[in-house]
């Protein structure tokens, strides 16, 4: 469990450039949850996730991982970073190794995973991200397609077997096929018990993957709750510059005629409801 208690982060304190990146943020991320973080550019999303593994320290307040303050001297930050794995935006831009294997093995190796277990960790992470053939491991990561690169980059964090996987805009710059695949593998991670936190601008993505939404505006937490409640708060949605996804819009309009239509996350869910109704 990850917990933030009254966290404040200030950039350039005591200068004229001083700005509050995060103001009094408290939140809890429980095991096996899937949480989407949304908000405008500059609302504090990236700052927030960097608090999760101690890359940024709060100016005030505490960050607790399994009840330990991660910024206290008694806590080994390396262990924190093994438990909380962050994949930043466009991670493939930081590839450096000659083979996919070396790229994915880099993290666990640094975390002290032994040579005998390393191979298993790497192949199991690659398999999680949809690479079933072991041949991929010997290829150069630079020779892969955009979608494959992204999945290798995520595999390199999964190889450390983190309890909490944090993804910053995981679908950015990817086309439809790449997105579809990645959504499938990410959903599998959740099913297999991994806790997921992801930052996104894409509401379809949020709708498909997240159980819960945390919305930030100007460094403050303005919403924390279920996805369906988020999309029914029209005032809030407008305030933080979000477009209601087509699926939600259609479902809401259909509700006037079909009063028992449930909340739907995908077009197929709407279709299934209408088909079931037709049968009666």
């Amino acid at each position: 469990m990850l917990e933030l208690k009254n966290v404040f982060v200030t950039y350039d304190p005591n200068t004229i450039f001083m700005s509050n990146a995060l103001v009094d943020i408290s939140l809890v991320i429980k095991k096996n949850e899937s949480v989407g973080i949304v908000g405008r550019i500059g609302s504090g999303k990236s700052t927030l996730i960097q608090l999760f593994n101690g890359l940024i320290k709060p100016d005030n307040g505490t960050v607790l991982l399994d009840n330990d303050d991660i910024n206290s001297k008694q806590v080994d930050i390396r262990k924190v970073r093994k438990k909380v794995g962050i994949v930043f935006q466009y991670p493939e831009e930081q590839f450096f190794a000659e083979t996919v294997f070396a790229e994915v093995a880099f993290g666990p190796k640094n975390m002290g995973v032994r040579e005998t277990e390393l191979k298993d960790a790497v192949f199991s992470a690659l398999k999680d991200m949809g690479f079933s053939s072991e041949k991929i491991a010997q290829r150069s990561p630079f020779s892969l397609s955009g979608g494959e690169k992204r999945r290798v980059a995520i595999a390199s964090i999964i190889a450390m077997n983190p309890d909490i996987l944090v993804l910053d805009e995981p679908m950015a710059g990817m086309d439809f096929n790449g997105k579809e695949k990645l959504i499938k593998y990410i959903k599998n991670e959740i099913k297999n018990g991994r806790t997921l936190v992801f930052v996104t601008h894409n509401m379809e993505e949020l709708l498909e993957i997240a159980d819960r939404v945390i919305a930030l505006d100007d460094g403050k937490k303005v919403f924390d709750g279920r996805v369906r409640d988020f999309f029914s708060d029209e005032k809030l949605i407008e305030k933080i510059g979000i477009d209601i996804p087509s699926v939600v819009r259609m479902r809401n309009k259909l509700k006037k005629h079909y009063s028992d239509i449930p909340f739907c996350r995908t077009p197929m869910e709407i279709a299934s409801y209408l088909k079931k109704r037709d049968r009666h």
Partner: protein
Amino acid sequence: MIHFKDVSFAYKEGKWAVRHINFTVNKGEFVSIIGGNGSGKSTIARLSDGLLLPQEGSVFVDEMDSRAKKDEFLIKEKVGIVFQNPDNQFVGTTVEEDIAFGLENIGVERMEAKAKIEQISSLLGIDKYLHGSPSYLSGGEKQKVAIASVLVMQPDYLVMDEITALLDPVSRKEVLNLVHSIVENKNIGVLYITHITEEVIKSDRVLVLHKGEKIKEGVPAVILQDMKLLNSAGVASLPSVIISEELRKHGIINASFVDEEDLVGSLCSN
């Protein structure tokens, strides 16, 4: 008219980025190109004003061949391009200077330039930012400045390469609506390049690009109903079409709807 006539282009010999491309964009027309990553979309943008020259076939702008040295500048005057990242396009320290850059280069007199800039920026709703720095603007506003700098040159054609890709959903809609209203008022031909299916709904025609080849061309109502085609091109289908197709298979409705209002209307009428 922008006219691609059997155009092929390769960055590296033997590896075609686009192959045998044919299409036209007339003045006053809004033509979209949709395709996934690596489909050749951006290459077409760069071929359309002579930034790249085809190895095979020809690109004509109002009958001028893009390979003819003598017409190089005339073509660049006629075709304005806006790219994905507005930050790469800024040259001035104020928004006004930025928009003025092109006009100054072709020797437009100061007062005349000022009048033109004021007119364009009020049309795009950025007149209040003219004396500020472009770097403090939001993504959507920056992209409007980039569009203004191109429009102020009074091009006959506008080529837009993924101009909304870095914008948030609300500014994305705003910028797209703005582009549509400009075309309607100014008799400009637009080539609009995107990977977002929703953005091509209001086009006159849509070209689907896949691995450098045009696999289909038609009006949006037809193209957007073809889920198989879009899938194979790496492009998402509209939720309204996904629902319609599924319901049609089961005989619940008998048409496919691109417009979500139409779908909802049809479902609520019976």
